[in-house]
């Protein structure tokens, strides 16, 4: 594999250098453009981290000091001491984790049923679920709010978790994947007297680890980051998630960039660590959505 690509790029270079003399010049330009773009992409991060480590006076000073002087954790200390950000972090973690687990469970079950079992009407059902892709989530916020209120779930984590778990994305991805698992395997298992439940737990799920991991990561990040819906149904301060909390904090501390940026670092830090550890799987989850 790597030999083949090396070979290919060598051939590319040969073709390139024989046809255009400016090949290496072009190569330099590409490097400059790409690393230039990368610099632009990270400037906001640099600002966020640097400002969060400044004193509140230095953060609003005119002139740009990228390296804080002095470096202080004062904003972080004040943040944890005076706000409920820790509670919001726990809320967000809980909501994202449960949503992710629930989605993995129910989506894999229905995808199994739609691809591995044969029953009347399953095609129409799949078509209905796929069609729901076109319904923008925001359209539903008013009637959904009434349903949630009727069920007495306002300020309850379930008010966020259950609607998030209703989305069709996971079903769609898993159906695509389960379809490609060879049916011969299933038939052999059936000959050995495996029940469908055992085929689901012992065969399909273990064979689908890669896609389940990718889906889990994507769902986790996605539910962690949700803003509008939690803003509507989580109305008490103790129930906020981080995305809501940071906005409320910013509105409370008027013009306190050091504090605001510290809260932004806290709100996005956990996902950045997750991203650094598992970026391949996360990007795979994105790629899979494009392939469909």
């Amino acid at each position: 594999m790597s030999e083949a690509t090396a070979d290919q790029s060598q051939r590319q270079e040969e073709v390139g250098s024989s046809t255009t003399t400016g090949f290496s010049m072009r190569n330099v330009l590409v490097h400059v453009a790409m690393y230039g773009a990368a610099l632009v992409f990270v400037i906001p991060y640099a600002y966020m981290i640097s400002t969060s480590l400044k004193t509140s006076e230095a953060a609003v000073a005119t002139g740009m000091n990228w390296i804080p002087n002095p470096i202080t954790l004062g904003s972080y200390i004040q943040l944890f001491a005076t706000s409920q950000i820790l509670q919001w972090g726990l809320n967000t973690l809980l909501i994202s984790s449960i949503t992710t687990l629930l989605v993995l469970l129910i989506d894999s079950m229905i995808a199994f049923s739609l691809t591995r079992l044969e029953w009347k009407g399953q095609r129409y059902l799949l078509a209905l679920i796929v069609a729901s892709f076109m319904v923008p989530g925001f359209v539903n916020i008013i009637p959904l709010y009434l349903v949630i209120a009727e069920l007495g779930l306002i300020n309850n984590y379930l008010a966020v978790i259950l609607p998030f778990a209703a989305g069709p994305l996971g079903v769609f991805l898993l159906v695509q994947f389960f379809r490609d698992i060879p049916y011969e395997l299933q038939e052999a298992a059936q000959l050995d007297g495996f029940s469908n439940f055992r085929i689901y737990t012992r065969m399909i799920l273990p064979l689908s680890k890669s896609i389940l991991t990718a889906l889990a990561l994507f769902m986790f990040v996605w539910s962690w980051n949700q803003f509008l819906w939690p803003l509507i149904v989580l109305q008490s301060e103790a129930a906020y998630t981080l995305p809501i909390g940071v906005v409320v904090l910013r509105d409370n501390f008027t013009i306190q960039p050091a504090l605001t940026m510290a809260s932004a670092v806290v709100a996005s830090g956990p996902l950045f660590i997750l991203f650094l550890l598992l970026q391949e799987q996360l990007m795979t989850a994105v790629e899979m959505q494009g392939v469909t």
Binding site: L117, I142, E187
Partner: protein, 303 residues
């Protein structure tokens, strides 16, 4: 015995009955949640949009037929929000496609630190909208913002960005491109990487230069991914909410008020649930229309 049925493609009645039961059983947890929290609200919304909905006493709501929709046509605030949303889509969707494609083609080249660059360009996508928006609100600040600090070195009167009617929406759009382009970039890069190399070699043998290769090989081969990127970004753009909510609250004036913001305001500030539901349905109609139009314009004869 079960297997032979499947192999022959014939399913005896008793077996098909059992499979139906098990099939429904496996499907039901998702179906219940899907039904209660997605399908049911969608139907209720359609129903509500035909009423002058009384939020306090729903039973006393009056049926007004399509009056809510008729009211929308004449509502200037709705027209303004529709225009702003379309303007936002026009600013962001082509930019995301072009920037994403440019970055993907660049990273796909023989470049050092490919994995590193890929991670950098993707990374803003994992931020929550409120963090991205708060961050850029500071960057745009006219008092201590980085952008005007550096612009101030080369021009005497840098824009007022979020306080300016002219620049507020483009500023929000720029933030959005930075925040979301990573998603499209990853999809486009992956599509570019699966274009077979021999097509380029054949094109080169035919004497095609870089531009011809791009036009005749890259674009047609990546058509499916380009189509997907346009549609998904249009769908996101028409639902834009978080960025203007956090960065400008719809201002200055109503220069950045979008459809979803107006819907939210109609529902939760004015308690006009029926009217807000009608806005939601119009938004859905727009999105379905946009998706179908794109399908015919771009994706029609994909294979």
């Amino acid at each position: 015995m079960a297997t032979t049925d499947k192999l022959d493609g014939i399913t005896p009645e008793s077996r098909s009955g059992r499979e139906l039961m098990e099939g429904v059983l496996f499907a039901s947890p998702y179906l219940i949640i899907f039904g209660v929290f997605l399908l049911l609200p969608l139907l209720i919304g359609g129903y509500m949009s035909l009423f002058d909905w009384n939020a306090l006493a729903p039973a006393e709501s009056t049926f007004i037929g399509l009056d809510n929709y008729a009211r929308l046509l004449a509502d200037e605030q709705f027209q303004n929000a529709l225009f702003n949303t379309a303007y936002f889509a026009v600013l962001t969707v082509p930019s995301i496609l072009l920037v994403g494609l440019g970055l993907a083609l660049g990273v796909n080249r023989d470049i050092k630190g490919q994995g590193f660059l890929r991670a950098i360009f993707f990374s803003p996508y994992i931020l929550t909208v409120s963090v991205a928006a708060i961050l850029w609100t500071d960057l745009y600040s006219t008092q201590y913002g980085v952008i005007n600090y550096y612009l101030g070195m080369v021009m005497s009167n840098p824009p007022q960005w979020l306080q300016s009617r002219l620049f507020a929406m483009p500023a929000i759009a720029l933030t959005t491109v930075w925040w979301l382009v990573g998603f499209s970039f990853v999809i486009l890069l992956s599509a570019r990487q699966s274009v077979p190399e021999y097509l380029y070699e054949a094109a080169k043998l035919d004497g095609a230069g870089t531009w011809r290769q791009f036009r005749d090989v890259t674009v047609p081969q990546m058509r499916g991914a380009i189509f997907f990127v346009i549609v998904i970004n249009l769908i996101w753009a028409f639902q834009v909410y978080g960025q203007p909510y956090v960065m400008t609250a719809g201002g200055p004036g109503q220069a950045t008020e979008t459809l979803v913001m107006y819907l939210y305001q109609a529902a939760f500030n004015q308690r006009s649930f029926g009217y807000a539901s009608a806005i939601g349905y119009v938004l859905t109609a727009i999105l379905v229309g946009v998706s179908i139009a794109n399908y015919y314009l771009l994706g029609g004869d994909n294979e």
